[in-house]
């Protein structure tokens, strides 16, 4: 439902509104993002977003490094869920070079990726508590996240950037003691999720802050290329793990939660439900991990055949895609990375029209952007 009205930039509006600058130093988290809002009293009339404060030239660096040398830099795109970026990149290369990944490696990849998804959604829970004004959920969720990060450190060797998933498998096998710790985590975590929901989900003040705010209808969401929990909050049950399954996801049984109204409260509920579904997947994957190798033999210097490929994955915030054009050499000719936060931020002006200033921060928090992936 795009009309010409929404295509006008802020410069076309009459110039007697007050300008408020939400500078790059934000009191609430989400990275360095700046937007200038034209405000009529309390209502926002239009915004002008400014990005690029975290630009590192990742796509240009890709043209100078070999495929294996570039892999550690892919972690740093969406740094809250780093393993999912690596998974997408490695699967793109494996599809193009026609490498088969052994089943044991696929199961370990799924376990580590879903643990990382839980970590990223816990950050969302803490941040939306901060934006609504309560300080306690932030500390609760970071205390829980610590346990998941210790599990990941035991398995993958890092807490924020891992470099664990390699082309052809994973880097190291499951250490001793990991399975018992994982079972402990799986038995405690659902109870902690219930505590989080008691604290916040039924809270009338939180509901009055988030219900009916920032409504995005399903057609608008598809028009603005949204994906992930932001799209599922508007009612579309679309998940790439079910639509184009990869890495063994077709073997596991899980649901796709979706909202009804498309407001902030529905997006919050979708992410809380996704955490429970991730727990289900981990339980099923950890029950019987097939035995075998963890990595296939891959040449030390990988050369891809000539051609191009676009491969997409379900990341923590939405659809991550890698578009690689190769000319047969050691380095790619062009690598384009499609990130979900960039598309969501482009829709911010549309969603914020007519909203209160106090609601603008909550709506931005419900999109759950991370600036590493917007600026690359």
């Amino acid at each position: 439902m795009l009309t010409e009205e929404f295509e006008k930039t802020v410069e076309d509006l009459p110039k007697d509104y007050m300008e408020v600058n939400f500078g790059p130093h934000h009191p609430s988290t989400h990275g360095v993002f700046r937007f200038i809002a034209r405000v009529d009293g309390e209502r926002i009339v239009g915004i002008d977003p400014v990005i690029g404060y975290l630009h590192r030239g990742v796509e240009k660096m890709a043209e100078r490094k070999t495929y294996i040398q570039f892999k550690p830099l892919v972690d740093r795109l969406d740094y809250t869920g780093a393993l999912l970026n690596e998974l997408c990149y490695c699967q793109a290369l494996e599809k193009m070079a026609e490498i088969e990944v052994p089943e044991r490696a696929q199961a370990i990849r799924v376990i580590s990726a879903e643990l990382n998804r839980i970590c990223a959604h816990l950050i969302f829970y803490g941040a939306i508590g901060l934006e609504a004004g309560a300080f306690t959920p932030f500390l609760f969720s970071f205390a829980e996240r610590e346990k998941a990060l210790q599990l990941l450190e035991m398995l993958a060797g890092g807490r924020l950037t891992f470099n664990y998933i390699t082309i052809g498998g994973v880097r190291k096998d499951i250490p001793n003691g990991f399975k018992s710790e994982l079972e402990k985590f799986l038995s405690i975590f659902p109870k902690r999720l219930k505590v989080f929901e008691d604290l916040f989900t039924g809270n009338e003040i939180f509901k009055s802050r988030t219900q009916g705010i920032g409504v995005i209808k399903m057609e608008d969401a598809f028009d603005w290329a949204m994906s992930g929990p932001t799209l599922r909050g508007s009612g579309a049950r679309f998940d790439i793990r079910k639509a184009e399954p990869y890495s063994g996801y077709e073997k596991y049984d899980f649901d796709i939660p979706a909202g009804e109204n498309g407001d902030v409260y529905d997006r919050y509920l979708v992410r809380m439900a996704e955490m429970r579904q991730s727990l289900r997947i981990i339980e099923q994957a950890a029950e019987d991990i097939p035995s075998g190798d963890i990595q296939v033999k891959v040449p030390k210097v990988l050369k891809l055949p000539e051609g191009e490929i676009y491969y997409r994955n379900e990341g923590t915030k939405g659809e991550i895609g890698f578009y690689i054009i190769s000319d047969g050499g050691k380095t790619p000719y062009r690598m384009k990375i499609r990130t979900p936060s960039f598309s969501h931020l482009s829709a911010l002006g549309f969603v914020l029209k007519g909203a209160y200033i106090a609601d603008a921060i909550v709506i931005l928090g419900s999109f759950d952007t991370v600036m590493g992936s917007v600026d690359r």
Partner: protein, 327 residues
Amino acid sequence: MVWWLVFLWALLKLVIAVGFVLVTALILIYMLRKVMGRMQYRMGPRHHGPHGVFQTMFDAVKLLGKENIIPKDVDKWPYLWAPVIVFVPSLTIFALLPFAEKIVATNIEISLFFVFAIMGISTISLIMAGWGSNNKYALLGGLRSAAQMMSYEIPLILSAIGVVIMAGSMNLVEIVRAQQNIYYIVPQAVAFFVFMTSALAELNHTPFDIPEAESEIVAGFNIEYSGFRFASFFLAEFVNLFIICALATILFLGGWLPFTNPVYGTLFFLFKTYILIFVTMWIRSTFPRFRLDQFMNFGWKLLLPLSLVNIFVTGTVVLVVDNIRGL
């Protein structure tokens, strides 16, 4: 020979009162940090004294030592006097609060009325602070905070009238004495709820702390204050917290009853006040905050009618019971 002794005695009482006020503020700040920390699975301050008891004192000393910055083009008179004026009502009210039967600095006939009258003065210091800083965000924050405090004073005062009707007097000591049979929280439960909620809004506490913690448009009226001027706003908030909880204890929880002994009475009074303060801090660490228009709605459309209905029902019941007893 006698006049300077009287003068000295008055000065001593004044020093004790001011000292008590400041020590209370320090204790309350320490209590807030410890209680809020424990509710978030962490410890509060730990170094600087056993269990960190001297932390607040060191913080106050640090704030005293900061550079004295006065921004350019401020309106000097309101800017410099606002932090002073915000403290004055709190100190004056301390002279009227009774801690036990005989322990009250001054006891006048209409002390409750006087207390409410003086509490309104602290609102004007916020407007002075907002206007005096040469900053449009401070002005907006100051005006919002003033609007909030003014609109929540009405339910605060009206909810206390039910107690006055039942007790038959505006004297604080008399009100406590009238609660010997039953504490007024039981027949006046609705008024207690309205009183505590309006008190949270008066103090700019969560869930009504939009002017203070507005993370969208920075920190409201005290954005241009630094050093000890900022600390005085902060301390004044905690002193007001103590005063309002003490008032709530006197009006609804029976003050120092059932002890008439001055020592035990004061201790029990302080114990009840600190329980109410703990409940306020408990609420502060749990709830998110309301949006501005939502809590204006809450105040004008819910609390004000509730308090008016409370007065009506209380008056009717007291009249009927008196007539029945007279028959």
